[in-house]
């Protein structure tokens, strides 16, 4: 039996519209996502480059300070400075060096020593005046 022409259903049904819209959305979203992630990559790349430049500058600064430190610590400069400032510093003479014997625990000298041979000085708190 032939169908009623007036009541014939449209070939573009709502479901199809929805599917088409979804497909467009997916395609559009994917395209947008692609562009967004490309933009992110570019942005991150720019940041990486900036950080690398900064790192290079910091390394340069570090080297500059290291050189300055090395110059300030150089033996010749230190001796010259001591002389210029008239500090009168010199190598310690043997009579200025106090040598403490490093004896093993079972050494005879240690066993024979009495309490008080080696005095320990501690800082006592000051008494408050009344």
């Amino acid at each position: 039996m032939p169908r009623n022409r007036k009541k014939q259903e449209s070939p573009l049904s709502v479901g199809l519209w929805i599917r088409a819209a979804l497909l467009c959305l997916v395609l559009g979203g994917t395209a947008m996502g692609y562009v967004w992630q490309k933009s992110q990559i570019h942005q991150l790349g720019t940041e990486v480059r900036k950080k690398e430049v900064r790192l290079e500058l910091l390394r340069g600064d570090n080297e500059r300070w290291q050189q300055l430190r090395a110059e300030m610590r150089s033996t010749q400069k230190l001796y010259d400075r001591v002389r210029t400032l008239g500090l009168g510093l010199a190598m310690p003479q043997p009579e200025q060096v106090l040598r403490l014997p490093d004896l093993p625990l079972d050494a005879k000298e240690l066993k024979q020593s009495k309490l008080g041979d080696y005095r320990t000085v501690t800082n006592k708190p000051r008494r408050r005046r009344p």
Partner: protein, 615 residues
């Protein structure tokens, strides 16, 4: 119809051109496109530092730039740009402006080309390069650039871009201590290389440790392949390869900067007093063979090696060999004692200063009669030593000489070391057995002599000189540790002890080196005074001497062996008089600095009357 045909023909034409470009000429255009965007960037590795044993930096590196200019972008603003950047390059502005003038050259194909790459300065430090870029950004042309038409505006922007730096960084080698230990550290030169078509200005060790350990110090260059955008900025996302550079290793020497300074200052004083042709000093730890100080005069500044002469840069401790004179007597006497050919108490007649042997006269500086072997060393008798050597015999004497390292390189890691001269016994004349024991007919380097004396001090072991203690990476991790090496045992312990006791008498009142005696430390040593052989005729040069003193302390347990060598001194020439005082200064100050225990207990300050110790 005609229109349709034209459109079709147009499309066909475009299609053909497309196929031509994309298929037929693909390789050519692809290469051109790559050439426009792809870049290979070389990352220079940082050259390692040279440090002394306590971490004092003797040589370090700084990243530097090579600043260039493209005169074709400058228009007529050369003077303005030159004035802005001259202070950072430390150059004359007028000279810079002249360099930035446009010029044309003819290339290999005979075509006229404009020079677009003029090097203005090399080794420009990073902070100076920053200063240059800031100065260029602030350039004032006297017009409001932003209000100008686009073409004119671009012209002004190009002026700011006209000064640029090369893509590959170079390095500046810095020696913070100046001339201190210059002969040990050495210096560097520039080596122009090409890495995959990219020019690289690297550093190359030319002298000293810089040269000997060049490959360890240099490190490995890194590289990356990048793509650039229209404005030649890197597109990091397209970075294909990125190999980081590996920095060079730090070299830690056995040298102590303070001992080195003490030795150099002592030589300076010596040179001021005796004005010799040259002088050098070596300080060695006889237990390990570690070189604590190695000084030469004249010297140079490794920061400016071009300002010095080749003679100043020569490390005479290893490159010059001399007839050593009486310091060599220790070889014959120690050999004879070790072989039990003589005893210290055996007596020899010293012929009252004139001894006829093989048709020639051998002289002493004083007329000595019978003397014991000990006295022969104390008084430094040539005749007595010759007689001791005759008891030992030529072959055994030659054997001891070579066993003590003479006639062969010591193996110190410094360039230019010579062997010295030691003839085989077959080439000895009849006179040789009387001349060689007193240090004639033989040539030795100051280092060989000092190492031989160290062998006497440490119980008879000849040590290999140790100059490099270890190699470290940038984080301080030890990559390679060098250990003391005994080359061979030359004399027995007992003989070595006898030699030490004998050599201690040299600095006594009766000896030849009273000036080398120390207050708190027992010193043993030997003086040497040798006439210099003539360069023009047979025989010796009148009035030209090589004076030396090699000694060690504390004699009972040596920690320092010091050799001082003076070539052609004026105002005195005896080893004890010329080199002895310098030895004393180096020994006393170094011992105090290193905190060596005095040979005999000294009264403490509290037991002494107050006095000014030093000022």
């Amino acid at each position: 119809m005609l229109l349709v045909s034209l459109i079709t023909a147009g499309y066909v034409g475009l299609g053909v051109r497309l196929v031509d470009i994309q298929v037929l000429q693909h390789d050519k255009h692809a290469a051109h496109a790559l050439d426009n965007t792809r870049r290979k960037v070389i990352h220079a590795s940082r050259r390692g530092d040279i440090l002394d044993t306590r971490g004092t930096v003797l040589a370090t590196s700084r990243i530097a730039k090579t600043v260039c200019a493209d005169p074709s972008l400058m228009g007529n603003h050369q003077s303005l740009v030159a004035r802005a950047i001259a202070p950072f390059l430390r150059r004359d502005a007028a000279d810079l402006a002249k360099r930035m003038q446009r010029r044309v050259y003819t290339d290999a194909a005979g075509r006229q080309r404009e020079d677009k790459h003029v090097v203005l300065a090399r080794k420009v430090l990073l902070e100076d390069w920053q200063g240059i870029t800031n100065a260029l950004a602030r350039l004032d042309f006297g017009v409001d650039v932003k209000s100008l038409p686009r073409k004119e505006r671009l012209g002004y922007y190009n002026v700011r871009r006209a000064v640029f730096c090369e893509r590959v960084d170079s390095q500046l080698r810095v020696y913070p201590s100046g001339s201190l230990a210059a002969h040990v550290t050495g210096f560097v030169g520039v080596r122009d290389l090409e890495d995959s078509g990219v020019p690289v200005a690297g550093l190359e060790g030319k002298h000293g440790i810089e040269r000997m350990l060049d490959s360890e110090l240099e490190g490995v260059r890194g590289w990356s392949e990048i793509e650039t955008d229209r404005r030649r900025r890197e597109v990091v996302a397209f970075r294909e390869y990125d190999v980081k550079p590996r920095d060079g290793l730090n070299v830690v020497l056995t040298l102590d900067a303070n001992v080195q300074y003490i030795a150099e200052k002592a030589l300076e004083t010596l040179c001021a007093k005796h004005t010799p042709a040259s002088a050098c000093a070596v300080v060695v730890d006889p237990r390990t063979g570690a070189i604590l100080g190695l000084a030469n005069r004249p010297t140079f500044d490794p920061n400016q090696p071009g300002d010095s002469t080749a003679a100043n840069r020569r490390n005479r401790v290893i490159t010059d060999s001399f007839e050593p004179g009486s310091t060599f007597k220790i070889v014959a006497v120690s050999g004879a004692l070790n072989e039990h050919a003589v005893r210290l108490t055996d007596r020899f007649h010293c012929e009252n200063g004139r001894y006829y042997f093989a048709g020639k006269v051998l002289r002493d500086h004083h007329a000595y009669g019978p003397m014991s072997v000990r006295e022969i060393i104390t008084k430094s008798s040539n005749i007595g030593t010759a007689k001791v050597a005759m008891k030992l015999g030529a072959h055994r004497l030659h054997n001891y000489i070579s066993e003590l390292g003479f006639g062969q390189r010591s193996g110190v890691p410094l360039p230019g070391e010579v062997r010295g001269i030691l003839h085989p016994v077959s080439r000895w004349s009849k006179l040789s057995i009387s001349r060689i024991p007193m240090g004639h007919e033989i040539a030795a380097t100051p280092l060989q002599l000092t190492m031989a004396m160290s062998a006497m001090a440490n119980g008879g072991n000849l040590m290999r000189p140790l100059l490099v203690d270890r190699l470290e990476d940038r984080d301080g991790n030890v990559v390679m540790q060098y250990k003391p090496t005994v080359v061979r045992k030359v004399i027995g312990d007992e003989t070595a002890q006898q030699m030490v006791k004998t050599l201690m008498t040299v600095v006594s009142e009766e000896g030849t080196a009273r000036q080398a005696r120390l207050e708190n430390y027992a010193v043993a040593g030997k003086t040497g005074t040798a006439q210099k052989p003539s360069k023009t005729r047979r025989g010796y040069e009148a009035g030209k001497y090589f004076s030396s003193f090699i000694g060690f302390l504390p004699a009972e347990a040596p920690r320092l062996c010091i050799g001082v060598f003076v070539d052609e001194p004026n105002d005195g020439y005896y080893g004890g008089v010329v080199a002895g005082p310098a030895f004393k200064v180096i020994a006393e100050k170094s011992a105090n600095y290193l905190g060596l225990e005095p040979s005999e207990p000294v009264e403490s300050l509290s037991e002494r009357k107050p006095r000014v110790v030093s000022r």
